[in-house]
């Protein structure tokens, strides 16, 4: 019991620290949100009209109280679950904007994460089982090579070649302008078509970590005494690979998956920006660009809570499943 209480206390402490940093860090940025918004409204102009900046400042109701009062207010609103009005999407609330964009990112991120995890783990297991064979060499070398390429560059290349040169896929966006968002076939097929290139760009890289992690774990395990014992008992190769090797080797990957789930939002920024995908990564990018503190804080908060919760759940599960963890702390 003490173990669980302690884990939970650590969770709360981390959460408080993260929430506080979340308040401080965006405010260390130089610049004025109102001025940035006016700049964005006049993208072709290098000068801003100070009168317009003044009007936008009044519109947003930018705080002129001191930073400690702002911090207290921030904590109060968090407790009440109010995230305020977005600066860059005024007069819409932060919750409204996140509600619009989160599904896109979650669907794209979760599907690619799941496929990447399954494919990567299977490839890694197979490579480890046939270690030092041609399949292993090709997979390991291929994954290492791909891992050295900048993923945003591959994404740009895909966009240029597959969408612009050959016209196989639409150029950016979440769905075509003719489709009416909702549960209709035209929209769903259009959304699927638009998600192919972003998904491929992610999937080219998603399995790499899982492949290498799985292969290396499993190679070690296959050299262990109990695997040799299993061989000596005359168990079938397949049974040894799956039930003695892969089953144990997958555990660190599962721990990694917990963190990856929390990382879905953070990792989506670049890909969504390149493909103009209407998700939360792009929203976060805009929030950063426009100095939209309320939106930035809330998106970061979601990321933080996502990672911390995933971590906490993993900790609890290990506690339940492995008595040694509980006793040793």
């Amino acid at each position: 019991m003490i173990y669980f209480v302690r884990r939970f206390a650590v969770f709360l402490l981390t959460l408080w620290a993260a929430i506080t940093l979340n308040f401080i860090i965006p405010r260390l940025q130089p610049g004025d949100p109102a001025e940035r918004i006016v700049r964005r409204l006049n993208p072709n102009s290098r000068t801003v009209d100070p009168n317009q900046v003044e009007a936008v400042r009044k519109m947003l109701g930018l705080p002129d109280t001191n930073i400690f009062e702002q911090y207290l207010q921030y904590l109060q609103t968090l407790v009440r679950g109010e995230f305020g009005v977005s600066y860059s999407y005024f007069p819409f609330t932060v919750t409204h904007m996140i509600g619009q964009t989160l599904p896109w990112t979650l669907v794209l991120g979760a599907v690619t994460l799941f496929i990447g995890f399954v494919v990567g783990t299977l490839l890694g297991a197979w490579a480890a089982w046939r270690r030092n064979g041609p399949f292993d060499s090709v997979t390991t070398l291929g994954a290492t090579f791909l891992g050295t390429l900048p993923s945003f560059w591959i994404a740009l290349l895909l966009l240029y070649v597959c969408a612009f040169k050959w016209g196989w896929f639409p150029v950016g966006g979440g769905y075509s302008g003719d489709a009416q968002p909702g549960w209709n076939w035209a929209f769903i097929s259009s959304a699927f078509e638009h998600s192919v290139l972003p998904a491929v760009s992610i999937l080219l890289f998603a399995p790499i970590g899982w492949i290498l992690g799985m292969r290396n774990n499993m190679v070690t395990i296959l050299g262990d005494d109990y695997t040799r014992l299993a061989k000596a008992k005359g168990l079938s190769e397949r049974r040894i690979a799956l039930w003695y090797g892969a089953r144990v080797a997958v555990l660190p990957n599962v721990a990694g998956l917990a963190l990856a789930v929390g990382g879905i939002l953070g990792g989506s920024v670049v890909i969504e920006q390149i493909f103009s995908y209407p998700g939360m990564g792009r929203l976060l990018f805009e929030a950063l660009r426009d100095g939209d503190y309320p939106l930035m804080q809330t998106v970061f908060l979601f990321i933080i809570i996502g990672v911390l919760l995933a971590d906490l759940v993993a900790d609890f599960l290990y506690g339940v499943l492995d008595p040694r963890v509980r006793r040793g702390g």
Partner: protein, 557 residues
Amino acid sequence: MLKSKPMVFLLLLALLAPMPAVASAGSQAPFHAAVAQEGEAPIENLDRGDFGGGSNPQQNFNPFSPTVLSGATTWLFEPLMIINAYSCEVIPWLATEFAWPDPQTLQFTIREGVTWSDGTPFTAEDVVFTHKLGQAFPALDTDQAWDVLTDVVAEGNTVTFTFNTPAGAQFSNLVDNPILPKHIWEAQADPVTFLNEEPVSTGPFLVESFNPQQLVMVRNPDYWQAEKVQVQRLTYTKTEAGGQVAQLALGEGRYDWADQFQPGIEETYVAKDPEHNKYWFPAGGSVSLMMNHSKAPFNDPAFRQGIAYAFDRESMAQRAAFGYTGGSTQAFLTLPNQEIYLDPSIPDQGFLPHDPAKAIEILTAGGYVMDGDSLTKDGEPVNVTFSVPASFNDWVQAAELVREGLGEIGINVEIDSKDPDLVFDERKAGNFDMTFDAPGGGCNLWAGYNYALGGSDAPTPVDTPVDFNYIRFNSPETQALIDQLQGATDIEAQTPIAHQLQQMMMTQVPFIPLWYGPVWFEYRTENAEGWPSAENPYAHPGNPLVIITNLVPPAAA
């Protein structure tokens, strides 16, 4: 070592399970889909790019809102008059005439026979109501007009604005404001957050359909000058304005009308279809060398006059503006189109040559000494830091030429390129040596001077952030001229004051205009002709309402 069961994995998957349904973005109002069935205009459709509202545009037709779908409101709400931003002529629009009975009173005669799209007649009351919104809600007063405005009243079809000071310079701000329907907006408790989802408007187009990826505007058959509008539809597709996707799409000929920066336009755009892909980049504001007058040597007129000859303005225009525009005049005007305001006694229209020898001559006469290769004052070498926003590539390129030019006359320049917000913050606080800015360029000469030098009778102390006259130029005489210019109501009154200000620019050199920033404008002649161009500059690219009433089908041109 961690030890667990595959159950962890399953449970984590379960966490993901309640994935929300696919976004349902914005309710879809029927808009005016049925309006324009019979009698379609000859130009079926023109394709355009971004329509504003950020990457997740929401249904918002409130023209004051920073997330407004500007692609729509441009065509929905019209101003009283349009100032042709190229020739500076005033074009009557929702008002037919204006007069200044005295410099503190401005009167407009409102056009008759205009109706709102719901059939309600447009009246002078709508004009009064729109302008009074800024008084009741300061957040809607985007020009801070109520600093000088005291009242707006309607009488018949006349609207009278009264000011607390001579206010000729307020004209362009006032006529510019989009006029809103009183009968809709007066019912709104908070017009600042009102979304105006089903807009009632006077303009040439109505919203046909909107979703976050596409906005379609359809011709308003009951428009007050409908016979001049030959375009049936305008289709906007969401892209990031000025982003790579927009640049590629322009190259592919997907936009009939665009206003975006395009690198290597001849190769990436014109060459793809030389017959139809055209562009015209008229000169905008002057990118200028701004100096901090709160410190030496920039507070010394001799220094400023001298270095004004150190720059090769044409090379700068070539490198920073790809040669689309040329070097600019020290007289702080956009030439040739604003020539009517230019003092003819200024030699060479104020275009200063690149003449290092002359620069050194002026500097030497001012007490500076060339010591070997470096310029010194009282035995100390002159060193300058040049701050430039790192993301403005053209400015970073030009800063290099500033360094070379000043290097030739013995001034050592260190270029400090950094985050734009840092540059702007330091600029406001007066903690900089030299930087670029692009003041002026518009027809409202006062606004240009006021932004660059306004408040020069009492410059703001260093470390107090300020937007106007952040260079901290100190000249009560100049401020008196700027104030006179603000009061002048017609070109006859404005010109003599403008001439004096130009003389001040030539002798005091408070800042140094270097080259004209181009205004981006690309168009295709496949589906429509009659676009403004260098040969026929009847309107500025920033006057879309004027352009749309001049477009004709290609065959007829």
